[in-house]
Homo-oligomer: 198 residues x 2
DNA sequence: CGGCGACCATACGGTGTTGTATGGATGCAT
DNA sequence: ATGCATCCATACAACACCGTATGGTCGCCG
């Protein structure tokens, strides 16, 4: 009775051999879809069309999978930009807007949210998220510096820019992406404006 | 061997009878400490010094516990303020600052973060969080309205105020509370200032 | 073609979890 | 005091999960 009821063997092509990254990619999808507590061995095996025997050949244990998954996310899914060397103040504005737009539109923040929830109760993951946030924040701050703001102003405006997006993403949003993009434009116009605020 | 090794019966006084709220309170603590996946039946029973027999008298199932826990949080741990009727524009400023200070300092945001992580993969919880956010945001917007800002300005500044705090809380924060409070003061001074920004 | 290594299936033990069934203890009302 | 409702313990079934042990299959290389 309870044999292979949810098996759909012809969905995935008969991929001859599985690699370690296949497991990590599947684990990341499960993480983003149902959280870290759904990232289990036999579950991933079923999704990949194999059994546990395959898993324990590629990984030492379930804990090692999570550790690798943490690094996998941090190294492959947190790219901001690292080739912004030759940019002037004008490009900095448009680059900031493009970056924030991308965060809102892309599904990459789906990964971010899941990892952030994971990091709430896992200190190592929390550290990884912290490092990613610091890197991104430093990048945004650098953009504001190139716009001509001094260090204190750049610190203030970068934090307002970045943490607002984090908050809006973390909050349950029924707003459509168009709504968020429209409000992003309003924020951007204000946060980029050089007239002294106070 | 595996009998009652972690039982510490004299920690909790011999509370004669357990009530349903005792279970919910313990569940909320576990939720805040280790996430919703740690809210399990026998685990709570051990923490409360009883066995499952007690649980299944108070609750129909594990799912019902989570449903009750969701309502328990929404109704008992999301009070903002509802007695701000007779307030002028001056009190609105200090009330906003006090509210945001309280969010940063209190452990209430610990509950919020855990429920928010829960809501990422549970639609009913997501709706509950959404309603709470809408209520709070409407309250903050009302404060800005009482400060004299028009509707569009109040909408903008309330979202900036509220979602920033959500983001800063959701992000892994190594900053101390003093740091966050200091930065809160800077934000507050700016967001409350009436000089037109752009 | 023979053998070896990469990759996976199968089977099993052990634990943790939900849920049920049933009996016991305790207090309160009549 | 007797009976009943409340509250909990115990025992059990069923399942999911981790990890191991062992054998099997396939391809490649000499």
């Amino acid at each position: 009775m309870a044999g292979s009821l949810t098996r759909v063997p012809f969905l995935k092509p008969p991929q001859t051999k599985l690699t370690e990254e296949d497991w990590l990619a599947e684990a990341l999808q499960t993480l983003a879809a149902e959280g870290v507590s759904a990232v289990r061995v036999e579950r991933l095996a079923r999704s990949l069309g194999v059994t546990k025997g395959s898993f324990y050949w590629h990984f030492k244990s379930h804990g090692e999978l999570l550790a690798r998954l943490r690094d996998y996310w941090a190294s492959h899914h947190t790219v901001v930009v690292d080739a912004y060397e030759t940019q002037g103040p004008a490009e900095a504005e448009t680059m900031l807007l493009a970056l924030l737009r991308r965060i809102i539109l892309e599904d990459a923040n789906r990964y971010d949210a899941a990892v952030r929830a994971w990091g709430l109760f896992d200190s190592l993951t929390a550290e990884a998220v912290l490092r990613v946030d610091e890197t991104r924040l430093a990048f945004v701050k650098e953009l504001f510096l190139r716009m001509g703001f001094d260090r204190e102003e750049a610190e203030f405006r970068s934090r307002m820019s970045y943490y607002y997006v984090i908050g809006e993403t973390s909050a349950g949003i029924d707003r459509t992406s168009e709504d968020r993009l429209a409000f992003l434009d309003r924020r951007h116009r204000r946060l980029v404006d050089r007239t002294p605020i106070r």
